[in-house]
């Protein structure tokens, strides 16, 4: 019984069942609060009504808008789901809503993008189902500051990310690319 509502700072006290997941990042306070204050309508959650009539957070979406001109787009920073509410389409539900919100005024972005670890086949499959395609491969994206790659020749499925994109109505196919998996860039080239 999923309902959608804006994410609030105090929700951070309720995220253990979601954020103890090994693939979900736990950011510092400032990072969450920056999203809440800079993009208040793009940080929202799905909730379930429990038997004690208290809402349980089943997932959340952290999104933002960035870039200029042709690069003006929506970015999915985090989308994650409580383990008991997986495989019922909740991640798609959250992604679709972000797309719906930012496709409209006042955002009207050109495309929506996200980064996913190359070896995370489950997530890749999900995003492809939602209409995303690989735009480029970011070599060493998850490698950490001390492992910054010298060039794009050496690839590593654990450390590289796919930058996946889905064009909005005003993008007219410009934000997507065929054979994106073969197009390689370094992490600094994907900053806006």
């Amino acid at each position: 019984m999923t309902s959608l509502s804006p994410f609030q700072a105090t929700d951070l006290f309720e995220l253990n069942p979601i954020n103890l997941d090994p693939l979900t990042e736990n950011f510092n306070i400032g990072f969450y609060l920056e999203y809440l204050t800079a993009w208040p309508s793009l940080f929202f959650k799905s909730s379930e009504i429990s038997s004690e009539c208290k809402d349980i957070i089943s997932g959340y979406m952290m999104g933002k808008t960035e870039g200029k001109g042709k690069d003006w787009h929506t970015h999915i920073t985090a989308v994650t789901i409580h383990h008991s509410y997986r495989r019922i389409g909740l991640a798609s539900y959250l992604c679709n809503n972000l797309e719906y919100i930012t496709d409209a005024k006042p955002h009207e972005t050109r495309f929506i993008d996200l980064f996913v670890r190359v070896n995370n086949s489950l997530a890749l499959h999900l995003y492809e189902k939602l209409g995303y395609s690989v735009y480029r491969r970011v070599v060493g994206y998850y490698g950490g500051e001390n492992e910054y790659p010298m060039d794009t020749k050496t690839i590593n499925d654990h450390k590289d990310a796919f930058d996946m994109r889905k064009g909005m109505k005003r993008d007219k196919g410009e934000g997507t690319r065929e054979n994106g998996r073969e197009y390689r860039v370094l992490p600094h080239e994907v900053r806006f």
């Binding site: 019984m1 999923t2 309902s3 959608l4 509502s5 804006p6 609030q8 700072a9 105090t10 929700d11 951070l12 006290f13 309720e14 995220l15 253990n16 069942p17 954020n19 103890l20 997941d21 090994p22 693939l23 736990n26 950011f27 510092n28 306070i29 400032g30 609060l33 920056e34 809440l36 204050t37 800079a38 208040p40 309508s41 929202f44 379930e48 009504i49 429990s50 038997s51 349980i56 089943s58 383990h83 008991s84 509410y85 997986r86 495989r87 019922i88 389409g89 539900y93 679709n96 809503n97 719906y100 919100i101 409209a104 005024k105 489950l122």
Partner: protein
């Protein structure tokens, strides 16, 4: 800051107050009219312990308020340290009235952000609005903070009624409103004055033909429901579900309610959808019609029963379900899904439903056997899954452990549970529920280092430290007195002080009003966290035990909060099985964790006695303390009374003699008892060395003698005896468990048993080793 001022501050930090006063006097002699030097002089008085003189002088300074930020800031700090909260804010208010400069007003406003004081926020933003009436943002601040003040617990009757009306006028004067955030302020103010009709019209006028903002959409539906405007509620529910394509359960509920009120058909529409939410909406429809939910529940389970959420979804409607009929239906639908993964989840759900119907099954042997059979049937799926994915079959194991401990909460069963959990976690290392149970079970058998190792594997970070660390740091001083973990956990409170306050200001500047109420609450909850209180007390105790006061400097900016927020997450511990606490088990399982934050108030009182800050403990309720803690409290209290000439050495000796006996078994209580005794003895030493009141030489000698005997006994006898008893008990248990039928059914072999017993032995030994060093 000038070089001279820096020199004075350094002298204060080093405790050379006389020198600091001399230097400050020189500055005052040279510039007698500089208010900051007067304030600084009083700050030195305060730091050197002359609080009353400082207070008297500062109150005089406040009558003619300074107009420079430096003096105001330091005066505010002085009053705060003196516990004069009202005066600390009044400093700015007085200055703002007399010198309403932009600088003073913004500092006043920022003080409100840093202290969560909505009255300060409201007053300062009203003043900013008057000072700079062309700045739209200040009008919005004034209106929004009027709303915040009107809903605050501290609001007076006038503030509850007059202030929101004032706020409404301010925001209405800004029309046309330019954003959802501005409309949000207006509708919150309209809500607080009870003008719900206008809430609806303002939202709809602003939105026009555009899509509703999510926040405003929720307010709109809630208000239409409140106003019983069912035609409009029906219309907007349909718009959201159909046009926005937002399959939202709360909206389904409004649609059902409004269509029933309007006698419109909703059942066919719900059936047309065919989503999880709509299947649940059919159950909701039956509830709202007052009909049986059973058929809708069965239909839902036929489709969704193979998903983990099915248990939680149906559990929330369980009070409407005919349990007998449901049980029969479950028995008839043993096989509902042919796919093996789906079948496993269905079997987990069936078991959980059966237990929900009758929790006493946990004590039944047949149920226990069924759990083991089912776990074994599906355990091969554990090898197939992605490493980071969840394996629902683990639920059988958690239930096995809950059943085992419910039947008999013995040390033997705790160790069997540990053996099982360690085995499963070898293959499913990311399963955090199992890991949290393991942490807690290790703590119960005095294995702090092993609990700590497992806690590390949870990769707890940032805010999680506040909501999860109680499993590791509760009563840390009497389990494994070590600063490292406290220092790591405490970083979150430091981050809150700087980062949250900063982003609250950013939120105001960016006009993200619908997030600010919660951000202020978030700030308050971390600032007044009950775990933070507990940790502050642990810092004090550990510093005494280790004779190391240095880490206390790190936390000197933090004080014990009398009003607190208990942010600790205990739910995650029970977020398996029937997803609720098993009460008879809870008390024993969490015995080492003081679950009631009132516990810390008592310990804080005890610290106050030790430090001579309080002498009277009227009606102190010791019921939340363990026996040894009660003894410690009484002994410390009686000793302080001896120094206050209200007790005798005979009475104190009597309490020394009545020390509870140390029970030599494998339990957290062994370290707890020994460390509480050591801490008590060190506290008494502190009282003897620091008490201003003198008692007779003989009494001092007797007291010292009693205390040294107490310490010697722990160091020379008790620790050794406890260690030997632990080794003996572990040896006995190990040989018993080598032939355990249960362990063999779960495929746990002798090598695994040897390994885990080695771990337990080692970890217990680490505790004893540390105690020997104290």
């Amino acid at each position: 800051m000038s070089a001279k001022e820096e020199e004075i501050y350094n002298a204060i930090d080093n405790g050379t107050y006389k020198f600091a006063l001399q230097q400050c006097s020189k500055l005052l002699k040279k510039s007698p009219n500089v208010t900051f030097y007067q304030v600084l002089y009083n700050y030195i008085l305060l730091e050197s312990g002359k609080s009353s003189e400082c207070l008297e002088n500062c109150l005089k300074i406040m009558e003619k308020p300074p107009n420079d930020i430096k003096s105001l800031g330091l005066l505010n700090k002085i009053f705060s340290q003196l516990g004069k909260t009202e005066e600390s804010f009044q400093v700015y208010e007085n200055a703002a009235k007399k010198y309403p400069s932009f600088e003073i007003l913004t500092h006043w406003f920022h003080l409100g952000c840093e202290t969560n004081n909505v009255r300060v926020l409201q007053k300062s933003s009203m003043a900013l609005k008057s000072l700079n009436s062309s700045n739209r943002l200040f009008h919005l601040w004034a209106a929004f903070t009027s709303y915040l003040l009107s809903i605050s617990k501290e609001a007076t009757a006038i503030e509850k009624t007059v202030i929101p009306k004032l706020g409404t006028k301010i925001v209405e004067a800004l029309k046309p409103l330019r954003s959802e955030q501005e409309v949000y302020i207006l509708v919150k103010l309209l809500e607080s004055i009870g003008n719900f009709e206008s809430v609806v019209s303002e939202i709809l006028n602003f939105t026009g033909s555009n899509k509703l903002d999510l926040e405003l959409q929720i307010i709109l539906l809630k208000t239409l429901d409140k106003l019983e405007k069912y035609e409009e509620l029906y219309h907007w529910s349909l718009v959201i579900l159909n046009d926005y394509k937002l399959d939202d359960f709360n909206t389904w509920k409004y649609l059902i309610k409004s269509s029933l009120k309007l006698n419109k058909d909703v059942e066919n529409m719900i059936k047309f959808y065919g989503t999880r939410n709509s299947r649940l909406a059919l159950i909701e429809l039956a509830v709202q019609r007052g009909e049986s939910v059973d058929q809708s529940v069965y239909q839902y389970l036929n489709h969704i029963g193979c998903k983990p959420c099915a248990f939680f979804d149906i559990k929330s409607y369980f009070k409407y379900v005919d349990r007998e009929a449901f049980k029969k239906w479950l028995d008839n639908n043993e096989i509902l899904f042919s796919n093996e993964d789906r079948d496993m989840i269905w079997q987990v759900n069936v078991i959980k439903f059966k237990l929900l119907i009758n929790i006493d099954l946990l004590d039944k042997d047949s149920f226990f056997d069924e759990l083991i059979i089912k776990f074994n049937k599906y355990k091969h799926l554990l090898n197939k899954k992605e490493k980071t994915d969840f394996h629902q079959g683990d639920e059988f194991i958690v239930l096995v452990i809950q059943a085992l401990l419910s039947k008999n909460f013995s040390t033997k069963n705790i160790i069997i549970s540990i053996l099982i959990l360690e085995k499963i976690l070898e293959k499913d290392k990311h399963e955090f529920h199992l890991r949290i149970w393991l942490v807690q079970l290790y703590k119960l058998i005095n294995c702090h280092t092993q609990a700590s190792l497992n806690f590390e594997k949870l990769k707890v970070k940032n805010i999680q430290f506040d909501i999860l660390s109680h499993f590791l740091v509760s009563r840390l001083s009497s389990s494994y007195p070590d600063y490292d973990v406290l220092n790591r956990v405490f970083k979150i409170y430091k981050a809150n002080k700087s980062e949250t306050s900063y982003f609250i200001k950013i939120g105001f500047n960016k006009g993200s009003f619908n997030k600010l109420e919660s951000m202020l609450e978030f700030h308050w909850r971390l600032e007044n966290s009950s775990l933070k209180n507990h940790e502050l007390l642990q810092y004090n105790k550990i510093s005494r035990l280790l004779n190391n006061k240095e880490p206390l400097n790190e936390i000197s900016d933090f004080g014990f909060s009398e009003s607190y927020s208990d942010n600790r997450d205990f739910k995650v511990f029970w977020n398996t099985g029937v997803d609720e606490e098993i009460l008879p088990l809870k008390e024993k399982l969490l015995a080492n964790i003081p679950t009631d934050p009132q516990y810390d108030k008592i310990i804080n009182l005890q610290e106050g006695l030790i430090n001579g800050k309080i002498t009277n403990i009227e009606n102190a309720d010791l019921s939340l303390l363990t026996d040894i803690e009660k003894w410690s409290f009484r002994l410390i209290y009686e000793t302080t009374q001896l120094f206050n000439k209200r007790s005798s050495i005979a009475r104190v000796s009597e309490i020394y003699r009545s020390k509870p006996k140390l029970e030599l078994n494998l339990s957290w209580k062994v370290s707890h008892v020994l460390l509480v005794i050591l801490d008590t003895a060190k506290s008494i030493q502190h009282i003897i060395s620091n008490s201003y009141n003198k008692i007779s030489k003989n009494d001092i000698l007797n007291l010292k003698e009693l205390n040294s005997r107490l310490i010697e006994k722990v160091r020379d006898e008790d620790i050794l005896n406890a260690k030997q008893a632990t080794v003996a008990e572990l040896g006995k248990l190990k040989s018993q468990l080598k032939t355990s039928e249960l362990l063999s059914k779960l495929g746990i072999n002798s090598t695994h048993i040897d390994d885990v017993f080695d771990i337990i032995n080692f970890s217990n030994n680490e505790s004893f080793k540390l105690m020997k060093l104290l």
